[in-house]
């Protein structure tokens, strides 16, 4: 019973938000003085789809780049770069994502592409960091055993290292996607669309109803995506490493 509360609540609020016939009276009740209620420029559903598209594309690209770099830096040929990558990525973690986004815009212009690029740039870091941690903290005896069985380097990587590091890498991907959903909201200021646009429009036109629907929808999207990815993460874990 307890496990059902979250999904049911989520679906119910989604129904309220994404069906304009329900949303309109709710907003009229909550914000009697707003003047205009449902955001007129685009439906919340299409804004949410746009938002998801930006965050997930950025997340997937960042995952590929981050994992590749992480694997490269832990192979013998790339090991020289490991301390540098570690230092640089911990420095970069202190950069606020909003600042990275704002910095990327002067170089890339306004619109969808710069936001995507800024998101990728920033969200590579959690994936890279976690890939390095996952691959670096494997117990030496396990690797020794794999090599002793006569596995080639590629086999050790594909059959031992990556499967064991997968839960940590998965956490990195989840972190980066959640950050992306948040930063994509700010991306509305750069003209990228998404669920930030009703918030920005509402702030400019002093309309709390618009701010409210954008804020609710993006909060809901972030929470649901986080819960989904957490569930997926549990599945990724090798059976004998799962916590009961």
């Amino acid at each position: 019973m307890k496990r059902l509360i979250g999904p049911v609540l989520g679906l119910a609020s989604m129904a309220v938000l994404f069906i304009p016939g329900i949303l309109d009276p709710v907003l009229r009740f909550l914000f009697p003085g707003a003047g205009e209620w449902v955001f007129p420029r685009a439906s919340l559903l299409s804004l949410a789809a746009m938002h998801l598209l930006i965050s997930l594309t950025a997340g997937a690209t960042a995952a590929v780049i981050g994992i590749t770099l992480g694997i490269a830096a832990t192979r013998p040929a790339g090991r020289a770069f490991l301390p540098l990558i570690r230092d640089a990525s911990s420095l970069a973690q202190t950069l606020p994502p909003a600042a990275v986004l704002a910095l990327a815009i002067p170089f890339l212009g306004f619109g969808f592409e710069p936001v995507l690029l800024a998101l990728v740039l920033y969200s590579v870091l959690p994936v890279l960091n976690n890939t390095l941690t996952g691959l670096e903290t494997l117990p030496e005896p396990v690797l020794e055993a794999a090599r002793g069985m006569g596995m080639s380097r590629l086999q050790v990587l594909m059959r031992v290292e990556l499967p064991l590091a997968l839960p940590v890498i998965g956490t990195g991907i989840r972190t980066s996607v959640v950050i992306n959903v948040g930063t994509a909201t700010i991306g509305a200021l750069a003209g990228a669309g998404g669920l930030g646009s009703p918030i920005v429009a509402g702030l400019i036109r002093d309309n709390p109803a618009w701010v409210f629907q954008g804020a609710m929808a993006s909060a809901l999207l972030a929470l649901m995506l986080n819960a989904l990815l957490k569930a997926a993460e549990k599945r990724l874990q090798p059976a004998n490493m799962r916590e009961v």
Partner: protein, 387 residues
């Protein structure tokens, strides 16, 4: 295994070369026009061009010819410092090449970041021992600062924006620091006791962690937006609150949202820290005849401290960035400059907000690192916690 070449400095060379081959800066007549893009060689002139080529040769010599490790590192560090100086020098040269216009300025372009990046890579690769890093930092920054402060950097776009709004800039800077400082302090005052309570009692612990976890997931702009409506309603119904300055926009919702955000790392790390105290240590304390209170203050708390401080560090660094977003709901701070810049499509104004933001974030991070090293008992194992 055969001896390998030092490949990292070669990567720095590659980055530095980008500054010279790609557009380094744009010379503009005012804030809006596109301007004339020039690469590093076009800007450098014979003197700085020679310096750049010599530096590149120095790095190559270090990589391929030098055997002595510590001398080679010294060479890399020197090359890194020179790269940094070159960045400043090229910007100033660009300023001297401006011909005219209403508000002529030099805007950094994509290649600008190559030299500082090369400098970072070289110095990071050569580092050993902390005091040397400090000397290096002073040697690196001093000439560049003198060069820019001597009035020769005034054409650089960010300085132009800065001198146009000096007073406003410092006001917003102070608002920013005060806002994030207050948020972190209130989060610490709330979060540490909450974390201690949560680790004592599972019935409190589970909902508390679930709540702070959920808050952290909500995008900052959404949280600010969600707090506006209820606060506005409260302030309408209770005149006392309105008199206290609590309204739907401004500092009140920002402070609440920032505090909520800062709670997660603090609560979570307090719980993790108390959970990490080994049973044998508690056992030893009990065996010495300590009371529950003594056990907490003398054993559990000192051993949990590194985790708690790391949580405060994460919370503060995040709060610096989140405070920038708070400008959207009228709380002020450096975000004002960023969002104004975005609104006016003025990259230079964005930079004026972003550069101090990043400097504050890095400074806050480093100061916590310093304090963690000072406050944590030296006998404790800090593995897994970055200090």
């Amino acid at each position: 295994m055969r001896e390998r070449f030092d490949v990292v400095p070669l990567a720095a060379l590659f980055l530095g070369a980008a500054s010279f081959l790609m557009p380094f800066a744009a010379l503009k007549e005012n804030r809006v026009v596109d301007g004339l893009l020039l690469n590093g060689f076009q800007l450098a002139g014979p003197l700085y061009g020679t310096v750049a080529v010599l530096t590149a040769f120095g790095v190559l010599t270090g990589v391929f010819l030098m055997k002595n490790g510590s001398r080679r590192r010294l060479l890399y560090a020197a090359a890194g410092v020179v790269c940094f100086w070159l960045t400043a020098a090229l910007l100033v040269r660009a300023g001297m090449m401006l011909t005219g216009g209403a508000a002529p300025r030099v805007s950094p372009a994509i290649g600008f970041w190559g030299l500082p990046a090369a400098s970072y890579v070289l110095i990071d690769h050569s580092k050993k021992g902390r005091w040397r890093m400090w000397i290096l930092l002073v040697v690196m920054l001093l000439p560049a600062a003198l060069l820019l402060a001597g009035g020769r950097g005034e054409a650089i776009s960010v300085f132009r924006e800065w001198s146009a709004r000096k007073g406003r800039f410092f006001d917003e800077l102070i608002v920013h620091i005060r806002l994030f400082g207050m948020a972190v302090i209130s989060a610490a005052v709330l979060g540490i006791p909450l974390g201690i309570l949560a680790s004592r009692d599972k019935r409190i612990g589970e909902p508390v962690t679930a709540f702070v976890d959920a808050v952290q997931t909500i995008p900052s702009m959404a949280l600010f937006g969600l707090l506006m409506a209820p606060l506005a309603a409260l302030s309408r119904t209770f005149p006392l609150l309105r008199a206290m300055g609590i309204r739907g926009i401004g500092a009140a919702p920002a402070l609440i949202a920032l505090t909520l955000y800062a709670l997660l790392p603090i609560v979570r790390n307090t719980v993790a820290g108390l959970a990490s105290v080994p049973l044998s240590a508690i056992d030893a304390g009990l065996g010495l005849g300590m009371s529950q209170r003594q056990l907490f203050y003398r054993v559990e708390w000192p051993m949990a401290l590194p985790h708690v401080l790391t949580g405060l560090r994460t919370a503060s660094v995040q709060a610096v960035g989140n405070t920038a977003v708070a400008a959207l709901i009228g709380a002020g701070g450096l975000g004002i400059m960023i969002f104004q810049g975005l609104g006016q499509a003025a990259p230079d104004l964005i930079l004026l907000g972003v550069i101090p933001l990043i400097l504050i974030a890095v400074a806050v991070d480093r100061s916590w690192g310093f304090m963690i090293r000072r406050w944590v008992s030296p006998g404790l194992d800090m593995k897994g916690l970055s200090a």
